[in-house]
Symmetry: D2
Subunit: 346 residues, 4 copies
């Protein structure tokens, strides 16, 4: 069985495991108050070129999203998200559990635009309605697309105009930063967002995300918020140790290297399928691609490959999601392309 169903199917990159093994018997203080977290925080700040911010390490993306939103909003305030946004669609109401609404707009290629924010904003402006206050975006989005520098800058301007926070969910940030269509550096992201996180879980960590908060209003007593949301890990140093291993070397780190590898194999898969005449559900330049295949072929492919259906089939065609990761091999991609070729042309 070859896995294309997600980028969290294996453990960690061997260098991450090596760091965990090497530091395993050290004694340190808990809850993230240890030298590894302090060092990893410096690595993050160097990478983003920004030191007037704070960095918190959390176990996963959902804890990041929920804690940032709960910390940022007054009780009557709300989030604006694309309908495909993870915080809306795949967190079992974690945001609502903290008392806040997620206002959804049908995104364009999974993305929000200034116009969509305006549209959500104008409907909610008296005391009988919630008040939009935080724009939640994913980069790459849940359908693999990315924001350009112009697009993210335009969102920032709109947020400034309306007094909104801009928060970027970077669960797969590495593949956005290293894909061929990208024109947005992590330093620019850091300068444009009130908060964002650098996802580790889906790029070679056992688990863990590095959350950067630029806006002091969101950062106020943030560790209290993390604990209240059950999100402080006792052995917090595990997060520091992993991010040391991931980010050492900055843009030459294994974090960038793994993401580039994932993208290269996704590119290969995409081009290979395109050459077979396959069309795609979304125009993703990153490590998630969404080919639309004959439902019968999909059923055959499922015998040897593990992947998810993405949307309802129609007219006998089934959109699926294929995800590559740092652990995907060229031979995995070759095998999928060979199998698909056989199924489509035999």
């Amino acid at each position: 069985m070859i896995y294309f169903h997600s980028d969290y199917c294996q453990g960690a990159h061997p260098k991450v495991m090596e760091a965990l093994n090497k530091t395993n018997l050290e004694f340190t203080d808990g809850y993230g108050l240890d030298p590894h977290c302090a060092h990893a925080e410096e690595l993050v700040k160097d990478l983003i070129g920004k030191h007037d911010c704070s960095v918190h390490f959390l176990v996963g993306g959902t804890p990041c999203n929920v804690t940032v939103i709960a910390a940022a909003l007054r009780p009557y305030e709300a989030v604006i998200s694309a309908r495909t946004g993870h915080a809306y669609v795949h967190e079992t109401g974690g945001v609502e559990a903290t008392g806040h609404r997620v206002i959804v707009e049908d995104g364009i290629d999974g993305k929000l635009t200034p116009d969509l924010i305006d549209r959500a904003y104008v409907e909610y402006q008296d005391e009988h309605t919630v008040l939009p206050k935080l724009v939640y975006i994913s980069h790459p989005t849940e359908i693999g697309t990315i924001y350009s520098k112009a697009e993210l800058t335009a969102l920032r301007r709109k947020c400034d105009e309306l007094g909104l926070y801009l928060y970027l969910d970077g669960a797969r940030l590495g593949t956005a930063l290293t894909c061929s269509k990208n024109d947005l550096s992590i330093r620019e992201i850091a300068s444009l967002c009130d908060a964002f996180y650098i996802g580790g879980t889906k790029n070679g960590a056992l688990f863990g995300e590095a959350l950067v908060i630029n806006n002091p209003a969101i950062d106020d007593h943030f560790r209290w918020m993390m604990k209240r949301q059950a999100g402080i890990l006792a052995k917090g140093r595990l997060l520091g140790v992993q991010f040391e291993a991931l980010l050492e070397g900055g843009e030459n780190s294994i974090y960038y290297e793994m993401a580039a590898h994932s993208n290269r194999l996704a590119d290969k898969l995409r081009e290979g399928l395109r050459a077979l005449g396959v069309r795609f559900y979304s125009d993703s330049p990153t490590n998630q691609i969404f080919p639309v295949l004959p439902a019968e072929a999909v059923n055959e492919l499922r015998k040897d490959f593990f992947f998810y259906d993405w949307a309802q089939a129609s007219d006998g065609m089934q959109p699926v999601r294929l995800v590559t990761s740092w652990g995907t091999k060229d031979s995995d991609v070759d095998a999928f392309l060979d199998a698909t070729r056989r199924l489509l042309f035999s």
Copy 2:
């Protein structure tokens, strides 16, 4: 610096690391739906001698407590806890964040009794008051004491009488099960509680707790509750792999061995201090002990040993907490005793 400040100061037992290393490159499904979690679940059920229950693996104790309580209670229902209970005192209002009150009673040696439950219960019985529904206990307690079989059985009876759930926080369950004064097996605990967890974080795991739910009313859609509370780990298999390593062999597992080691060194420390005439803040038979030392001696000891003050000093005497773990060495204990002897008798 020698660490007695907690049992989460190191990484994991070498056999846990070995298991993580060995399985690191395996591909599995995520979110705990993998063969390692399934196998670890069987190991738990074999150990507790009970198969009509469900087992969930969570990252830490606070997520266990909060998720069980949120799942068990209707909105107007409340928890009864001893004042020292972790869920009350050290989770930054995580329970209240889910909308529920924790009613506190001054425990006896950190423990609840049927009388204390009665006392809490009678005050809350009309629609203007919350309704107590879940009894939260820790075993061992936060001050190291343990429930006897008679005591836990009496709590169960009281809970049955009043229609309450009994939930046991087993963050340090291993040291309760293996200490010299214990007369309560894990099978008995499993038969007496509606839910409890077997703590891994504080006994040799990198992180992770195995939550056992016996009562279907609490277990209903529990994975939805876990996700809503941001408590499902993407690479859930990390929890399964660790508990496989911890529990393989049941009562002969490293889980029991590590806890017994912690207790042996705590016993040695306790007896050594007692021989020096030191008295104790609580009568703990487990791996947390609370000697009361001259404040000046404490300040000196702090230079070489890392530990916490436990309560306010009075009359120049300072209660402190010393915690041993699977990684504590005989020489660490000897060093502490030597230093204390010198300070007290020079």
Copy 3:
């Protein structure tokens, strides 16, 4: 200034005031535990032809909606509502404040259909998503339309099929029951819904709604839920006294009479405007009508009449909302029609 902006612009029907005056100096117990509430409960049960239910009196519609939803749902469960639904659009996130999502579908004429429920339902079926559990409808809807017997029966069937609760917001129930197009009696509504309320505030009470709960699962400890949501009135008898006055006589009560009066004047206004060639934003047979008028005429009308704009103007045409009530007079309607005629044809 003539008021068409809502049906809560005056105090109460004189007979309601008379009842409050007459009983004012009586001593009774508080919190709704008085003979007037008990009698009003019987009047409600007689009217709906159902005695195996419970009746609670609350101060307003928002408290009814929020309390029913909070009582009915487990934490991870969600509401399905039309986008225009009051609980979604005009309660400042009161539902989310209790931890629950409102899933919105674009309604058809402000109404939900079995297909829309299906559509919402299928997207939310694993532990990463909320679980739809309660269908919220308004009757009449926020744009004045009503459910037919066939439509409500179909919703009930769909709810039974999917295991959902059906809750009907009856803020303006009287005008639904008494409008010319209605084919659905209150007895049928009572037999089809898990819970619904008979709105008093918008039909001649000072304030107050009579909430009927048929499903014991929702009614469990409901007075605890009411108090927790700050919704029990100290002098609860005020609600009982008002509903005695409103409902005495059943279908011959002032409740029905006032609603019929509102509808008659809305009909007159509607037909009058239609005769002037005016078209409407929604096809409402009840006491809220939504004519689309030239923006310039609207600005002129505003000088003598108080009403709200309903939606954005387009092409110089402005949809407005006109609401009649028990206190609206024929002369008020005549004045509006005269003024409009002058503005359109001069």
Copy 4:
């Protein structure tokens, strides 16, 4: 049956009813945006001698408490209250429903002191614990006692020192202001508290409280908070009309007159019982008194008088609560004293 069980057993003072009757058919805007609320707001500001504050009218005391607390606190922050505090003991966890803990201290005569606040404060000062932020007091307290000017000033100083809000629940404020032992004017209260309310429900209104907020941090978007907590009344003018009637004339208003009447009859009852040798559970100078009577006599008295037991009986003696109101007559008190005299001395 003569009622001493509370001060909410009748409707409203005749002048309040007269005002409601007189304004009943007026048309006004809803939700408190009407001339009567505006006028009542001015009356409140004149009475408290303070115009740099805001005034909101709510339906009851529980909505005031819950909304102020939810508006004032960040998610991890907590309330400090005496154990007898209404917000803790009689609101079914309404505060916890908004996500906040109420930290309780055993009050002294039902009151908090600077020392008790210190005691609560010091225990909660790192990220693993909630952070106390708002001091909740009742004046008079739930056992009838009142704060002196010196006591309230000392609380204010302590709150300033620790950065806490001071909030005063004035459900029975009138009887505090007009009792013989009072040395604290409403102007002083207004200058010392961040927020407080002037209770109408328990002093001659049908319902309603006038909430004064001095601190802009609490007042920020307060109407959004009110609506989110389901606490904006559609016909808000009912609250304005009532407070116009209650407060017209300031310290010569019926608000002061009714409270003074209640106190006079409570004094008469207290002195009469004291003359019979009866002792009291608390030393209350206001309209709630707590005589301790032989349990047998209490059972007899219950046949003709309606009142509540207050605490558990012991040694055959039963503490009860007797409450006088604006509607209590001298003859009611005489009857109770006569009956008691007969029972004690026959």
